[in-house]
Amino acid sequence: MAKAEHELTWKDIEIGAVVTEPGNAAIYKTGDWRSQKPDYDFKRCIKCGVCYIFCPEACIHQNKAGFFEADFYYCKGCGICAYECPTRVITMREETEK
């Protein structure tokens, strides 16, 4: 994995400053931007995947039981999933300690 930007020396810069590791921004944590967090009541979940489709972060995945939930490493807590969920599985709650 690429060095963090503050560790890069000029010798680490590729020709033309190209980036050779596709998708390596995935190491960047955006979860700590969150002030609200989705809380799930999976009893109501019909596994429709609406939340997955509408997530701007591409961070919602199906768990082993087939329910869709957010990866909190990335989830910024926008609340779109909660708003769009047809069966009201998701409630946005204040983020507590991280």
């Binding site: 690429a2 680490d12 596709p22 429709c48 995947g49 701007p56 972060e57 779109i80 047809p86």
Partner: protein, 308 residues
């Protein structure tokens, strides 16, 4: 209606060519729109990105959110760079320097990079007939620099350079009809789409990629930061924009217009504008005036789709 198709979400390609870890604002509709469009690109795609929000949030050295080959150069030249990529590949394939294969070239830009500063380069590339898809992610102002008005900003919207004040009520000009400008180039495919209708969006992107020659798709992209609205209603706003007639969804295939969705009855515009503080200075009669014009334009579009 949309909810029914929503149940097919598990059929959507799970790959995320626009990977998580991007730095778009919370609730960014444009990031959602790019993510959905990227699902339709397929792995054999090169992305040419104009300067703008989507470039800044996804490409801070030494990182990239893109799983696809990607290039960003300047603000106004995405269509010209895409022209170069397309002919560069074509020439090398013809001369046997690289293997012969179908590689999609997609240029993406915001409304500022498309409607305003990039219009000339776009017009040139459309006119020359390059085989590429240009997608404008339209959040209706220069959001990357701090929500200044563009020619895509709707009438009446308050931005930092079309502010609402005592002497002026926000943007004083009407949104430029960019899809119509694209249509005037006689290109095979033009469409509008929205992140709130993901399957329609994905299908349109696939169609745009499949035609021979240039295609132009303009995608409604809600911007909670710039429009000053709650972060959880980006998708809802996209629906309301369609349901009120503020952002009609349609496609134009070889000059033939087709509405993607015609609401039985348009909802009042105020249902849409009341949720966004960029419109909150507008008095009811101003909203009514804007609504009258939008409805008139919507009806004209529906008529066009009927008779052509």
């Amino acid at each position: 209606m949309q909810n029914l198709s929503i149940y097919a979400s598990r059929l959507v390609d799970k790959a995320e060519p626009f990977a998580p870890g991007h730095r778009a604002c919370i609730g960014c509709g444009e990031a959602l729109a790019v993510r959905l469009a990227a699902k339709a690109f397929g792995p054999n795609t090169i992305v040419v990105n104009a300067t703008g929000c989507m470039e800044i949030v996804a490409s801070q050295l030494p990182y990239t959110s893109w799983e696809l080959p990607w290039i960003h150069t300047l603000f106004e030249n995405a269509a010209a760079v895409a022209s170069g990529v397309e002919v560069g590949l074509k020439a090398q394939m013809r001369k046997g320097k690289i293997p012969q294969e179908d590689i999609n070239v997609v240029a993406i830009a915001g409304d500022g990079g498309t409607f305003d500063i990039g219009l000339q380069a776009l017009s040139g590339a459309l006119e020359r007939g390059h085989n590429f898809l240009y997608i404008c992610f339209d959040n209706e102002a220069y959001m990357n620099t701090g929500k200044q008005r563009s020619s895509a900003t709707p009438f009446g919207a308050s931005t930092t350079t079309s502010p609402a004040g005592k002497a002026q009520s926000g943007q004083t000009s009407w949104k430029k009809n960019m899809p119509e400008i694209a249509v005037a180039h006689n290109i095979p495919y033009v469409a509008t789409a929205s992140h709130s209708y993901p399957f329609d969006l994905i299908e349109k992107v696939k169609k745009g990629l499949s035609v021979k020659g240039p295609a132009y798709i303009q995608v409604y992209s809600a911007c909670p930061t710039g429009w000053r609205c709650d972060t959880d209603i980006s998708v809802k706003l996209g629906r309301l924009a369609v349901e009120t007639g503020a952002y009609p969804l349609y496609e134009v295939e070889n000059g033939k217009y087709k509405m993607s969705l015609v609401p039985e009855k348009l909802k009042p515009l105020s249902e849409y504008t009341s949720l966004q503080r960029r419109f909150r200075h507008l008095k009811p009669d101003e909203i009514t005036g804007i609504e009258a014009r939008l409805v008139e334009e919507f009806n004209r579009l529906v008529e066009k789709a009927k008779c052509l």
